[in-house]
Subunit: 239 residues, 2 copies
């Protein structure tokens, strides 16, 4: 199968990881989804590219040199690999703790959140629509390939999610208990709103509203920063 | 004085804040730097624009309707104001705690870090060159105008900074003491490296290296997430 250098669109049934690091993550964690790997001639002696070639050999995956295609898809001059894969669906674990994003609209934020989740031992990400497409190459790039280790599942509403996963809900709002004064009970879901609007007031009635202590000099923290702080707080060895 | 809709360049002696929120921040915290405010006809009845007009009146600042200029400078359809100001220099406080960024290269990260600093009560930001231009409108936008409450100062090297500010240095690296097990001593500087490369090994000999506890599933956290977690840890009321 041959791919053109047409930029990704949401209705494609495939997507691609750009760059050596993300391509290695793809091959390591989702080898069965990979369709084909393209390599740039300039990178043939690059250590990461050698690792990609060895992973492709083990998994019987086709590789091809395609400088033009890579240059078209990547905005970076030193991109040595692009990995095409078939998009897939995951199901969240009912036992593990979840991160829930309600209507996230910034691809960079969602990718960064995936990378941060992995850094603090969270694997399950529920996304309430309307929301960004997690398979957009911009999300994959911001996640630095962490996407391939995350289980993500879309829901049409929080109610739909709630009917499937009964557990302790902690919506993060500007009102509520201070996060660091609260011991969360497993299994739980940490719920965050949209970058601009936050969570609607209806969430005040869902579970235990929590806030991150902060000064009154800003309206709110950036979404990915807020999620990072909350995941850190629930990962670090407590004193 | 009239401005053209020429995009910002580093060598300009002025810059501009895009959007109502950032323009209000500019007018509130740096009124003496403001040169002129442009307003979009569509926003004439907008509450924020009315606030801008009242702040301009108080401070005797010129305003003008200029739809075309605003549409050219902003990528958003609903941008109602752009505030032009003269670039300025700040000096860091010798008594307060600092954030030090060594060679930051991502404008979004630097803006987000400024906003997060303000959220956790940090005002002083030292930047070691080479580094992004903090007055680039992209930084101002990511900071959501927090820039106008931050004191930032550039240095050509860490040595130059160190010679001016003698205090406790905490470089954040992948090795070192766990941050949450360490009581920082005032006044201190929290030092973070470049997005890609982190801090060089030389920092191991400078002060007390610290790390954020994290899983081994990722290489490192995103820079702005790492800074956010560290500032939060040093702001929140401890149990």
């Amino acid at each position: 199968m041959n791919f053109s250098s047409k930029k990704y669109k949401k209705n494609f049934d495939y997507s691609y990881a750009i760059g050596v690091y993300a391509t290695i993550e793809l091959l390591t964690h989702q080898p069965s989804r990979v369709i084909k790997i393209y390599i740039h001639r300039k990178g043939e002696k690059n250590k990461g590219v050698l690792k990609i070639q060895s992973l492709c050999k083990i998994n019987n995956i086709e590789t091809e040199i395609a400088d033009g295609l890579i240059e078209n898809l990547s905005s970076s001059e030193n991109c040595y690999a692009v990995g095409f894969f078939k998009k897939y669906q995951s199901e969240l674990s009912a036992d593990d703790n979840h991160v829930v994003l309600d209507s996230p609209s910034d691809m960079g934020n969602v990718g960064t959140i995936m990378r941060t989740m992995l850094g603090f031992g969270f694997i399950d990400l529920a996304i309430i629509r309307p929301a960004v497409d997690i398979f957009d190459p911009k999300v994959i790039r911001a996640s630095q390939g962490a996407l391939f280790q995350i289980r993500s599942q879309y829901f049409d509403s929080f109610t739909q999610y709630k009917n499937l996963f009964s557990r302790n809900y902690y919506p993060f709002m500007l009102a509520g208990r201070n996060m660091n004064e609260l011991a969360l009970k497993n299994p739980y879901s940490l719920i965050f709103g949209n970058e601009g609007a936050g969570l609607s007031h209806e969430y005040l009635k869902i579970g235990t509203p929590v806030k991150i202590p902060q000064s009154d000099k800003i309206d709110s923290l950036n979404l990915s920063i807020a999620v990072g702080i909350v995941l850190y707080e629930n990962f670090k060895p407590h004193r």
